[in-house]
């Protein structure tokens, strides 16, 4: 019985690992796309920029919605943001990573989860 369970779990674990790796690949591709747009070559995010209300106002609508939700929640995963905005998790994940690359949000990994937040105290 225990053996069967273990066998049953293994494919799930493998699938989970594949999903994680795909997500990491996605993130890297998003960074490359964003940096290409800005004609920058190194794989480094842009310098930190304050996410103030004037910046929020001038953002494209789709990014503003995500950024506003992070502001409201303080610190959240792509899943939590997606629940609030009622958009797909993968979509939110892409927008969040874009906001990180633009220097407006910070990202912190804790185990399997990635948290996004506005770094209000750390800047200057």
């Amino acid at each position: 019985m225990a053996k069967e369970e273990a066998l049953g779990k293994k494919p799930l674990q493998i699938l989970e690992k594949i999903r994680e790796n795909l997500e990491k690949l996605n993130e890297k591709m998003e960074i490359i796309i964003e940096l290409q747009k800005r004609e920058r070559k190194e794989l480094q995010p842009l310098p930190e920029a304050p996410l103030d209300v004037m910046t929020l106002l001038s953002m494209p609508d789709h990014l503003r919605k995500t950024a506003m939700t992070v502001c409201r929640l303080g610190r959240a995963t792509a899943d939590e943001i997606a629940q609030q905005t009622r958009r797909a998790r993968a979509v939110e994940s892409a927008y969040l990573n874009q906001l990180v690359i633009m220097g407006y949000l910070k990202k912190e990994r804790k185990g399997r989860k990635a948290y996004f937040y506005v770094d209000r105290e750390g800047q200057g």
Partner: protein, 257 residues
């Protein structure tokens, strides 16, 4: 869960402050726990209007991160009958303080937004306030937009002045709508021939002009404008038509969100 209401307008002199004070007082008179915050740092007036004495900490200090909100709030509940709670946070009216607030940079404004957003937790959740009312500066000021972003509902005070109507329409499309804020219009200083029209007629006219709901219509009351020291009309003149209109607005506010 309480609500945060920002009272804003395109132009100055539309009656934001008198609406804020009296709406806060009206809600407090109903037994609610209300907190009125003066976020008009360019022209602070609530401290003078409510004759605040011995204020040790201002909202300026809270936003600067030098004190917590508890230190700023002054309990003025004794000015309101009916067991309501009426707390006020004042903006510092000293010229130096105004100058200091106008010279803040984007990073400071970003932190100030964080401090305003955290009031939801500290005042609504932890201290059990039913309402926070922000009185703001007119137009597109940083402090006002910070207040709008932090609020659940925006009450826009407007008059029939042509430039005010145009500006208000632009703000509805290019400010409140972008932040997906629930917006309600209060038409203030309305001349008698218009205010005597039926509410239905005015509602449909407002829908045409602003495409936003009309929360209330306040006629031009000379005695309200003159004030004569009776700033909390809702308390001092309970039978005045202005007080009655504010009660109607408070009824609708209670049903919103």
């Amino acid at each position: 869960m309480g609500k945060i209401i920002a009272v804003h307008s395109y132009k100055g002199g539309t009656g934001k402050t008198i609406i804020s004070i009296n709406l806060a007082a009206t809600l407090a008179r109903r037994g609610k726990k209300v907190c009125l915050l003066d976020l008009d740092f360019r022209a602070p007036s609530i401290a003078t209007l409510l004759k605040a004495e011995n204020v040790n900490y201002w909202l300026n200090d809270y936003l600067n991160g030098t004190c917590e909100i508890d230190k700023v709030l002054v309990d003025l509940s004794e000015r309101i009958k009916n067991n309501g709670k009426f707390f006020v946070g004042f903006a510092n009216p000293a010229t130096e303080a105004i100058r200091d607030m106008t010279a803040k940079d984007r990073k400071w404004e970003m932190r100030a937004l964080g401090r305003l957003l955290s009031l939801r937790n500290s005042l609504l959740n932890d201290r059990g306030f039913d309402y926070i009312i922000f009185d703001t500066s007119p137009g597109l000021q940083y402090s006002s937009i910070n207040a709008i972003v932090s609020a659940d509902v925006v009450i826009v005070a407007t008059t029939f002045d042509r430039s005010d109507v145009d500006g208000t329409r632009r703000m509805l499309k290019e400010l409140y709508e972008l932040f997906e804020k629930k917006t309600e219009i209060v038409l203030n200083k309305v001349l008698n021939d218009i205010s005597s029209r039926s509410e239905k007629e005015l509602q449909s006219r407002m829908k045409d002009v602003y495409q936003a709901p009309l929360l209330g219509v306040i006629p031009c009351f000379c005695d309200v404008l003159k004030g004569e020291g009776h700033i909390i009309f809702a308390q001092e003149k309970p039978e005045h038509p202005f007080t009655k209109i504010l009660e109607g607005i408070a009824d609708k506010i209670d049903g919103l969100v």
